[in-house]
Amino acid sequence: MDLGFLVIQFLNGLASASSLFLVAAGLSLIFGVGRIVNFAHGSLFMLGAYLTVALVPAVGFWAAVLLAPPLVALIGGLIERLILRPIAGAPELFQLLATFGVSLMVADVVILVWGAADIVGPRAPGLDGAVSVLGKAVPLYDLMLIAVGPAVLGGLWLLLTRTRAGLLVRAAAEDRDMVDALGRDPKRLFSGVFMLGALLAGLGGALAVPRETLHSGLDLQVIVEAFAVVVVGGMGSVGGAYGAAVLIGLVHAFGIVWFPEATLVLTFLVMALVLMLRPHGLFGARAGLPAATGGAAVAPPLTGVGRLGGGLWLLAALGLLAAPLLLGAYGLDVLAEMLILAAFAASLQWLTGVAGIVSFGHAAFFGLGGYAAALMVHHLGWGMIPALLAGSAAAALAGALLGRVGGRLSGVYLAMLSLAFAELLHAVAFQWVGLTGGDNGLIGLWPPAWAADPRAYYGLTLLLAGGAVAGLAGLAFTPHGRALRALRDHPVRAAALGLDVAGLRRRAMVLAGAVAGLAGGLFVFLKGSVFPGVLGVAMSVDALVMMLLGGLHALGGALLGAAAYQGLFVAAATLTDHWRLVLGGLIVLLVVALPGGLGSLGRRLRGRSA
């Protein structure tokens, strides 16, 4: 391996670092000022790229690069005004979900407008040549990109240190209440920062056009990398974002040479390592003490079985028990799937609603359980029951690992880490074809003869998945569940009283992992196959939406949420190809209009008429 090659990879890494930085800087600023994790930031990048391509024929490349970012900033302003402002003050999770809903909608809009096929962008006129460095050709465009990163960093630095607005932004990043004290409307400040962040993301997308192939999955690819950069650099730190972008850009550039199949794994490892050593990232402001609760949002008292009344739940339970007598094979399959998804959602609710741990990659546990079970059957010839147990155990182990690595992390960092973990597993399932079959998945994973009858498998699902949902609901009222709820309410106070907060959180992650893994295994034998999709972001979001539909703090709400979600999904999927648009809109609507979940709808209506 000669020197020239190393230099090329180095320059290549720096060039992609600039792109990453443009996205990550805005993401970091938005978080710093608004404490909002903008999942739609990758979508803004993608819009910047597509708008540029659309404008090039009319105005030429360079004018398009200058015009697209302000358009993206306007779109960002609309998102902020219409969706984020109404839910300001809600828990972080809700804002994360709302922006995720937006990203789903944008993805479908992009497909509607520009089609699903890949688009190769135009070259940059004037910079389409190359210069020779140590005998290798380096594209001029890359050199320009390398310069853009530090230039934007410098501009932001001037903005943050030399202007009054910049001072406010920095003050807000350190202490939200200080903005009020300084007498500026924090809403307007946040609007400005959000639009600036959108502008930078749009610019990143515009500049990426000559280097990247445009496709509708670009948003996710970019956001996952940008999250890694922001977390490694320290949320809220612009300088940290640049340092981390360079680090991760280089890890990618060299990783792709030596471990071409494992670049995501490397990114994840860097992230995990940094977070273990520095829980607030390389340059993040170290918070003194965690806030008491999520701002104004105080969890309501736990409601036993939702608010629909015990009688209805009893009826539902009887219905589930009687289903094999009433339904045919198809109906039982649908019902079994609903129960499995309910257990999956309930396991997330255990983490988030009960223990206050936000996971944005809950599919990691579900998919790991599914794949572990499938691999046991496929490669080792295990029976279904041992395989299900192995799947559950593998996911529990993953929960223990994540709890160990992320035990000291604050909410958003852990949510990011879980997302990165899920993406890592997704990449492994996708790329390690020899083990997992890659995109083709593993098939022929049917239950053994004794459980092959739909009624038998439904019974097994009812026993295991239904049992898990009921078990978690009951557990919430034991001293263990009570302790978890206490540390969710006020972790500092809980620790001062004597609760082992880190240990309890780890246990919650192990249990949530075990239940999600069991659900994943049951899902595999229900479908007879497993594909990488079970580890995907969409699966994680399914869990979040079901949990919110049922009500974050209503136990047993997972059942209601799973039923409603499955019904909606089936309806949306049969009625339209643009399920993401429908689903995204639904998520936004749900978060903005009905944060208490479906169970609270009845109570609200009653309250209104009274």
């Binding site: 202490d175 003194g288 003490l289 806030a291 008491a292 001293p479 009570r482 302790a483 620790a495 082992d500």
Partner: protein
Amino acid sequence: MSPRDASPPVLRAEGLVKAFGGIRAVDGVDLSLDAGTISALIGPNGAGKTTCFHLLAGQLRPDAGRLWLDGRDISRLEPHRRAALGLARTFQIAGVFPSLSLADNLALAAEAPRRPRPGLRRRAAPDAATLLARVGLDLDPGRPAAGLSYGQVKRLELAMALAGRPRLLLMDEPTAGLDGPERDRLLGLVAGQVAEQGLTVLFTEHDVAAVFAHAGRVLAMADGRLIADGPPAAVAADPAVQRLYLGRPSTGSATGFAPSGQDV
């Protein structure tokens, strides 16, 4: 319990230092508390009192210095391990668990020092109504803690701290937000616990009258250092303390570190 005179001080701190950025919020504090005593820690805003409490109870790690509880080195122990050894504290911004019932708040507080990771079994819970009555709360133990007034939260927090039967209780501004009679009642209650159970108490307080009425000893703090230590009358007569309270207002409040546990 070992005889009082022969036992080491309940709490001993040596050379505690904590800096935030360039500001030394706590700058070389030594202190020692004997069993069954009530001491007050006074000083202007920003003097380092709350940071000192965070160091003693483990919410913050000191940059330098060591700490002993009943002769045992606790310098590196996490907060819950200190709680298990009998250290309890309340916070300047009172905090309870709003989603739990009052009874659950108290049951949890009673068990936590001995069960850092509670399991499934329910232990015999303390009599919530009695504990509530003791701090002057006449409320249904079954109601959630959400929606309590600030004064009620303050008292519930104290009831929770006492429910764990601690050896040492640190109270950060226990009476802030309470009126005069309430203030006396609450500190009188704590004094009763000291007399009955040999509890040791250190509290911060802005109300000088309350300090004189209840503390047997006063420690005065300014700019991260202890500047006076002794019986209340002696400390009140100390020229350095008088300058602090009567002379030019201290610059301490401009040092910029957040005085509460509420910062993010």
